[in-house]
């Protein structure tokens, strides 16, 4: 019992800190770079991603466990996962557009692009690779999203401050943001070893 709980905790610590999806595993970088200019947008994106990620983690588990594996169709897992994800996102998008137009505007082109957020498919594939059960899959998705949200929000606040610094011209914009992300990754290396048994 205690062991199971520490296993779950480990999944969270690992996905959020030690193997942070964005900074260590390199997943979900496009929205990380693209939606990190305004804090409001970053927070909205985090929420949307957390929702989609957890949902897709679970639903792809179900698809894999109850359809693909019994039928021996594992080679179609990428295809079916992404289909499930795309449909989830598309529906979310249409609903959000109606329910919260401002959030929709802030997320801009990135909401449909959650579909093409590697983290989402990455979670589904890694769940299969690491043979997670249902609860673990959900936690894994949630942890990944939390890790994504954490660094996205911190990064956005940093970029807002960068807006009024005297960065050398060739480095303005994306390069300095990337260097900042690099230094964040450097700092996150401090967490290596945290999630080892």
């Amino acid at each position: 019992m205690g062991n199971a709980w520490s296993g779950y905790l480990l999944i969270l610590v690992s996905t959020v800190l030690a193997n942070n999806f964005v900074l260590v595993r390199f997943l979900g970088l496009c929205p990380f770079m693209g939606v990190s200019t305004k804090l409001e947008g970053a927070i909205g994106m985090s929420a949307a991603t957390a929702f989609v990620l957890t949902l897709s983690s679970v639903s792809s588990y179900v698809v894999h466990q109850y359809i693909l594996e019994p039928l021996g169709l594992e080679y179609l897992s990428t295809l079916s996962f992404i289909l499930v994800i795309a449909v989830t996102v598309q529906a979310t998008e249409m609903i959000m557009r109606r329910v919260s137009p401002l959030l929709y505007r802030v997320l801009g082109i990135f909401l449909p692009l959650i579909t093409s957020n590697c983290a989402v498919l990455g979670v589904a594939l890694l769940n299969v690779q690491e043979q997670h059960n249902l609860l673990e899959s959900a936690l894994y998705g949630f942890g990944a999203a939390t890790g994504f949200a954490l660094v996205l929000v911190l990064f956005t606040a940093m970029r807002e401050r960068l807006a009024h610094t005297d960065v050398p011209v060739p480095f303005r914009g994306a390069p300095v943001a990337l260097v900042t992300a690099g230094l964040m990754a450097l700092a996150f290396m401090g967490f290596t070893g945290l999630a080892n048994q």
């Binding site: 947008g41 359809i67 079916s80 401002l102 801009g108």
Partner: protein, 180 residues
């Protein structure tokens, strides 16, 4: 061999149905973002952005058909406000649309004015008063400086001038900038 085909046939059908239904159920008619964009535009109505007035431009931005850097009267500050609202990076004003200028107002040379009313019809904010055949005047406090009354005037009697600033309008220069 057939199993995968059937499975995915079902997948496709179900998902397509779900999406089609959602699309109908949650259809959106109007975009309130237009109002927010419009609120940031200077309302000069000068059409330099390439649209017949500020609101059409706002609509075009909301549709994603126009960039945020096409309004010269709004200038840098306006672009920055739009970028803020829309979560994009600010960019310099597109020189094809014109340059940022201080606000100016139209002044009608009352001696030359023939009272043709053409300028009145052109003015988007009803800043010109006068009746047919009578001399016309621009109400300085209403004029947006859009230049639209210039082309129609048959006798070229309208000039654009910078209004004299009141003491209360004085803009203190930033430190380090030359004091005038």
């Amino acid at each position: 061999m057939l199993i995968p085909l059937i499975v995915f046939l079902v997948f496709g059908l179900v998902f397509g149905l779900v999406l089609g239904w959602t699309a109908r159920r949650f259809r959106v008619e109007s975009d309130p973002v237009v109002d927010q964009i419009d609120a940031l535009l200077p309302q000069t109505q000068c059409a330099q952005c390439g649209f017949p007035g500020c609101r059409p431009y706002a609509e075009a931005i909301a549709r994603g058909e126009a960039d945020i850097n096409q309004c010269p009267p709004g200038g840098e500050a306006g672009i920055r406000a739009l970028a803020d609202l829309l979560g994009r990076d600010p960019k310099p004003l597109n020189p094809e649309n014109g340059e940022e200028q201080p606000r100016r107002v139209a002044v009608i040379d009352e001696a030359a004015c023939i009272g043709c009313t053409l300028c009145i019809q052109a003015c988007p904010v009803d800043a010109i008063v006068g009746a047919a055949k009578l001399m016309h005047t621009v109400i300085e406090d209403e004029c947006t400086g859009c230049d639209l009354c210039l082309p129609p005037c048959p006798v070229d009697c309208i000039d654009m001038v910078e209004p004299e600033p009141a003491f209360s309008d004085w803009r203190r220069p930033a430190p380090g900038e030359a004091t005038s």
